[in-house]
Amino acid sequence: MTTLDTTPEEATAESHGEYHQDMSFQPKANRIGLWLFIVSETFLFGAFLSARWFSTGTLKPEELNQALALLLTIVLLVSSISAYLAETSIKYDHRRNFVLFIVFTIVMGLIFMGGVTIEIKEALHAYPPETPYGTSYFMLIGLHAFHVITGLLALTMVLILGLKGHYGSKQYWGVEGVVKYWHFVDLAWVIIYPTLYLF
């Protein structure tokens, strides 16, 4: 094992004597890779969404907690704005703002998860997974919650690394990647919410 301060991607070029492959492709590759991943995730959500439309159409129970759902939607949308502001801050080396906005985003995410927990509790009584609506409901909410949790973990990691001073205007790919992912999680909710609650 050799220890390198670089990633293997860069090491490939480095450890080799004279010929250094031009590594300028890496940032572009990271971005393309992330976008492809997001598109691919979109299709996954698409599969589950179409399952909902296919098996239950617009059927939905009376007991849905519309107020809470609307509130959670707003919470999540606000968190997207703060995530964006965090990314912009680090791009301009405003480290303090960066930390503030990331923390704010994480708190919003946690509030969202808390709300989802309440909703699931109610749902287990009103429309359990055995019912046709409950089937789609739990599947979509579960899939989305899983993504929120991974998003929160990633945001926490970015926060810790940020506090350690890993990011700056020269190097913010970690922040950018996680924030894009977070936007995706929000966007997914913007489609799931009407599918489950409005139509």
Partner: protein, 615 residues
């Protein structure tokens, strides 16, 4: 080996911990399906952690520097290597082994089917063996060419040192052994008898082996998606100077098209089996017989699995095109039209899935459109065929094993494609659906189109990868043997199917005995041919005659570097200045190395005076 042992140990420990935790929290036995699911997830984590995959990323996430393995020789094949060439070989060897295991299952089935009535296995076991055979072979066909040669050859063909995301690439490979292990362990939980398609509602109510099948599919899906993303990004961002889209080798094009499909549809198979899993462990009712919908399963499943047949065969097109231009010493015919057709197929293949459902009871008005779009796929497929035939036309054919197998491929795939039309036609399909006609059709397309191409690719790139030449005589004998007995095995099954012999059952009416006996005997001889194949490869890899960089006088970049390629592929930056396929065009050069030192020249001046060699 140390890491592999650690991976196995941590995998087993992980499984035990997962099962134990579940039992502690919610009670129940160790074979409860929830426990198996959680156990599998922990086992997978343990496995990836043991092999070093989690560390490879995790260190960076906690702000530490990344370590890469610098092992050489045999050891690197047994550990988390980020070298795309090592990964390619890992894929190749793993999947060829899976091919042989799946082949043994096939032999058992053919023996059972040699005569009507219940023979060596009872009917339920037969269904389990069919299912196992099906999914193992589908895995080989889906990942064989793209996993082994996509990884090994594509970066070199575009003049790159590695993939865009080497660590993801390695994770992609190390997700594959757990898939094979889960599938092969499933008999401990009663195996799965719902076919490789695992149609609901049977797959919601059968034995717990189905759970392992589901987990394996999700894992394999992740591997395919990561691989697809990696290849697309690599081809977009890492091409050498001068490697314009119009000069991209055709195998790379085919790999790119395949990757686009793989990363966009694989989720649907994963989604389908996740829904099944939820129905089994979380109490949902997507496909439960009373409230759920079996049609929903078929839609989601085929939305992946029809495009999947093109994930299997597009890289095969690439391989065969590459081989015919090399061995007929002519420029690739209709290069641009062929590339366009590859992508036309990608587009069309996601809107034809319901041709598998003509007898399933879906709405009648859907039949017509799906029939017509399906048949429209024959147009781009035909263009690719024209590309192959036009390249062969009036060429000075150099019959080496790869070309021999390519001819077998051409014959098989023609039959596979033409029989597809009868299945796409609603009227005839209602008669042929779920008979051996379908079985014969998809063996002609998948074995004939994908596995044949995989084998041709093995022979074509064998000297490059090992630095040694396989035995030509044994190779061509194998090629002919394979082609002849493959056809003798499956031709009779068209007849049996047309006359109504059902698929997926270990028994049949006496009237079909003749055809089945014939197919069984041919199949056993076909199976035996693989001894020659494997023997040839093993012997030649160790003791075959050494070869130079370019035994075929081919022009793409992988042939301009030593065999086997050095650790970082290129010792100086390649610059591309012309088409890779301008065979026989005086003075044309595909690529050269402007800053190569004297010592770096592979020795035969392949880059510079290739034209004089060929003229």
């Amino acid at each position: 080996m140390k890491y592999l042992v650690r991976a196995f140990v941590l995998g087993i420990v992980g499984y035990a911990v997962g099962v134990g935790l579940t039992m502690a929290i919610r009670g129940g036995g160790p074979t409860d399906e929830v426990a198996v699911v959680i156990g599998y997830i922990f086992a997978l984590m343990g496995w990836l952690g043991g092999i070093g995959g989690i560390e490879a990323f995790g260190r960076q996430w906690v702000g530490k520097s990344v370590e890469v393995s610098t092992a050489r020789g045999w050891r690197r094949y047994f550990q988390f290597s980020v070298d795309h060439k090592v990964i390619g070989i890992q894929y190749g060897v793993t999947l060829l082994s899976v091919l042989l295991i799946g082949g043994i299952a096939a032999m058992i089935m053919r023996v059972e089917l040699a005569s009507p009535g219940v023979g060596i296995v009872d009917l339920d076991d037969f269904n389990k063996i069919v299912s196992m055979h099906g999914i193992l072979m589908v895995a080989v066909a889906v990942a064989g060419i793209i996993g082994a040669f996509g990884n090994y050859i594509i970066p070199i063909q575009i003049g790159a040192q590695d993939m865009a995301f080497p660590r993801l690439n390695a994770i992609g490979f190390w997700l594959v052994p757990p898939v094979a292990i889960a599938l092969l362990m499933s008999p401990l939980l009663g195996a799965f008898n719902a076919g490789w398609t695992s149609y609901a509602p049977l797959s919601v109510t059968n034995e717990s082996g189905q759970i392992l099948f589901n987990m394996a599919i999700v894992t394999f899906g992740m591997s395919s998606i990561l691989g697809g993303i990696n290849i697309i990004t690599t081809v977009i961002t890492m091409r050498a100077p001068g490697m314009t889209w119009g000069r991209l080798p055709i195998f790379t094009w085919a790999g790119l098209a395949t990757s686009v499909l793989a990363f966009a549809v694989t989720q649907f198979f994963a989604a389908a089996v996740i829904l099944i899993t939820m129905d089994r462990v979380a109490g949902t009712s997507f496909f439960q017989p009373d409230v759920g919908s079996a049609l929903l399963y078929e839609h989601i499943f085929w939305f992946y699995s029809h495009p999947a047949v093109y994930i299997m065969v597009l890289p095969g097109f690439g391989v065969i095109l590459e081989i015919v231009t090399t061995f007929s010493r002519k420029p690739l015919f209709a290069y641009k039209a062929v590339v366009a057709s590859l992508f036309a197929i990608v587009g069309l293949s996601v809107v034809v899935w319901a041709h598998h459902m003509f007898t399933s009871g879906m709405a009648n008005f859907l039949h017509g459109p799906f029939m017509i779009i399906t048949e429209a796929i024959s147009i781009p497929t035909g263009v690719i065929f024209l590309g192959i035939l036009g390249t062969l036309w009036q060429g000075r054919l150099w019959f080496r094993t790869p070309l021999v197998i390519a001819f077998g491929w051409l014959f098989n795939f023609t039959i596979g494609g033409i029989t597809g039309i009868f299945l796409a036609d609603v009227a005839t399909d209602i008669h042929l659906h779920d008979t051996y006609f379908v079985v014969a059709h998809f063996h002609y397309t998948i074995v004939g189109g994908s596995i044949f191409a995989l084998i041709a690719a093995v022979f074509y790139w064998f000297p490059k990868i090992t630095g040694r030449m396989y035995n030509e005589k044994a190779g061509s004998i194998f090629g002919v043997w394979l082609t002849v007995f493959f056809n003798l095995t499956f031709i009779p099954l068209f007849w049996a199917g047309m006359n109504g012999m059902n698929r997926r059952i270990g028994d049949y009416p006496d009237a079909f005995e003749g055809a089945n006996k014939f197919a069984s005997v041919s199949a056993l001889i076909l199976g035996a041919s693989f001894l020659l194949f494997v023997g040839n490869l093993l012997y030649s890899a160790l003791w075959g005659p050494k070869v130079g960089p370019n035994p075929w006088n081919a022009r793409t970049l992988e042939w301009l570097i030593p065999s086997p390629p050095p650790e970082h592929n290129f010792t100086s930056q390649p610059v591309v200045i012309g088409s890779p396929y301008a065979y026989g065009v005086k003075g044309s050069v595909h690529a050269y190395f402007p800053d190569a030192n004297e010592g770096d020249d592979p020795g035969d001046g392949s880059a510079q005076n290739q034209e004089t060699v060929l003229a």
